[in-house]
Amino acid sequence: MRSLVSKSLRATLLTLTLVLVVVAATPITSLRAQTPGEISIVCENETAPGVYDTTVTLTTQDGYISIPDGNTVYMWGYAYEGGAFQHPGPTLCFNEGDVVDITLSNTTPLYGYTPTGPVAEAVSIVFPGQTGVEVDTGAGFVPAQPQFSGLTLTSLVQPAAAGGSATYHFTASQAGTFIYESGTNPQKQVHMGLFGAIIVRPSDGPTFIYNWPFTQFNPANDYMILLSEIDPDLHWAVEQGLDYNITLYHPRYWLINGRSFPDTIAPNDAEWLPTQPYGALLHIEPFNAGNNAQPSAVRFLNVGMRNHPMHPHGDHIQVVGRDGRPLLGPANENLSYAEFGPVIGAGQTKDTLYDWAAVQLTTPVPPDVFEAFSQFLLRPRDQNIMWGEWFSGSPYLGQTTDRPTGVTAQGECGEYYHIWHSHALHEAANYEAGFGGMITLERIDPPGGCP
């Protein structure tokens, strides 16, 4: 039994891989193909700047992702418009007020364990934060409702049966950042990778997160930090067609945008991560009232089952929205706040602004400190120096110092790098190996960028 299922999955995968190669060679009607290497959020359904396709088809797919410790993990996923497996699901963007139709085509059988053998599972999508969602599974649109068989709950919402499809319909009436995820066997299917992000641009325009002035940002710096966890035992059991007891849930990998550090800082669509298209590197320049006055938007989402206490080095973040709603008081007071320990709860989103605002606070360095610093770097023997790969060798932005022999250089022109990571530090690891997992970096270029 076990080997049969495994063989059938592998055969499917092989076929998919062939399809993938063909699809990848064909231009898709999306902007992202024109901007390779970009690192901001990619809206898969963007057809022209700020124009989003509101009729979207997602298909079920399965495949594998890479973990930096050398492991690969079997996943399920939503794929965009007949495309190949990707993890996480495609990021979809809409404009406030858009009438959205998302059709889920459950074409790739995702086999679940049953005592009598593997059965292709129904799959669905729930849209937390959206209201008035309707579903059409072939008999016309009806309100999205939990599904029961007798008294037994079978799905949080009407699913697409194996081999079938379902169309979800709603008006994107609220700006902000939202999760979409499976509502069918969610404890397994969501964990297996059936989730993604939805971003709704406000009617005030794409330079705002919400329709409030305090949520203005620089749309060139629009970042997503989507947190998830992997219990490799669960994935192995699903891959092998075995049962799994979810009460034994024990995540050992910790991901941002479907990647673990250091893969998180690779660019979007990095060719060595073919199924993990979304990078998480933040890339900004210092605040400047004249020509760089607007902060970055950093949108946190947590599709895992644990809370994640994130810690941005560099500066506080300003939290302006939560779960797709701006932080406003009863009289529309601005209730946004700054923190260096943003906790992202399970299923929660937090919309935040971030700036590198005041480099002059620590520069110029007093002469005695700079002297001590220079002496420290000038030790005669290389083993007396512990020099980070991303370190420029200078306290000053845009300046560098010759590094010791044998130290890899990741920097370009003396830019700064800061770490953003989970402060539940065992999550900043790939299984037992530290400096991995739920970590990304922030890159601060000198004004004007590196030459």
Partner: protein, 425 residues
Amino acid sequence: MTQQSSPRRFTRRDFLKFGGGALAAAAGAYLVPRAVTATAGALRASQASALSAAVAPSLDQRYHLMVTDGWIHLPRPAVDTTFHPDPWSPDLDTFNTYTFGFRNVGDLTDQKMRDQKGKVQLSSPILYAKEGGELRITLTNLGFATRPDLTDGHTVHFHGFPNAVPAFDGVPELSVGVPYGRSYTYFYRPKDPGTYKYHCHFEDIEHVSFGMTGLVFILPAESNNQAYNDPSTAFDRQFALLLGEVWTQERWEGAHIQEHDWSDYDPDYWTINGRVYPDTLAPNGEGNDPGTGDLIAPAGRDDLQYQPISSLITCNSGDKVLLRFSNLGFQRQAMRVDGLSLRVIGKDAKFLGAQAYDTDTVDISAGETFDVLFEAPLVASQTTYLLYNRKLAYLNNGGELGHGGQMTEIRVSPSGVPAQGEPNT
């Protein structure tokens, strides 16, 4: 700890130690950089305490911290486990848990500092700086006494400090680490007042969970007796409450030259300022002994020599008391007080202003800080209020029944508690 342990340690480990000692001697000449020696006199004058330095920091605040390893005390369970007390520890009943940490050595000579190798404190000394001033922290890495084979670097990460440049942010991959036998000076210009923390970021999972954690208070320009530049944040007394966790298996693995699997992280002791209840109530240590350079143990508690920070909260009726909560464990905790109303006035070194709120429980995750005020009620005789973690399973010491873990007491007297000199007194 000059006393060494049982003869079974005397094999490969002592051989390694011999090599480590030779290295230390060779490196000794480089230990103290010029920037520190030039100001050593000023440092000694102001930094006699294991707890902290002066509560009124100058605008030119300087610290000299050293890092090494050592042994601390955690109550012994009724039935010893594989990992606790550590059979290789100097004494199963007293110094029975392996640890890494910082020491404040600004008042010690270079030689006396080096004699302190193998003697750290948990939690680390409280540091102070003044808004608008300057802060220099010189870090000296003395290496490890119990693990001379380890050549770990160390750093200071000033957690939450805005706009730190990578050179002074202490993430070794993005900056520099401080190798064994060397010193490095971190520099900051503190701006926003509030409660911050510092910790080592070198192999951060291990070094933070091993106890290389402490607090930094940035005092507002307006007053040293306010949390922020707002009169509503004035206080009569202040107490630092740094939460932590000890996974004794990890400590054992560290001492016994074993690797850790971080995905199995599973602590079994929960600490406030590096101690568990009822040790949290014991008095403060008394700083570095000017003769030996070693820490002076709290009165009557020789076993807490390397855990000098008390968490006992004493005050008079009507006092405004500031609790500076911070969590550098990996778990989320829920610190509750029965019988008092807590006003949360700051989070992550930001004044909450109109968003301040009242509660009886402060939920606090890894990496967060909260500034909390309460007004001591009018009492006719000394009255005790418990401050404890509502995660009740963490109120034990190594699985023992009874009360332990992250708990302390707030004792309110009608009057007579002397004015506070340092925090946590």
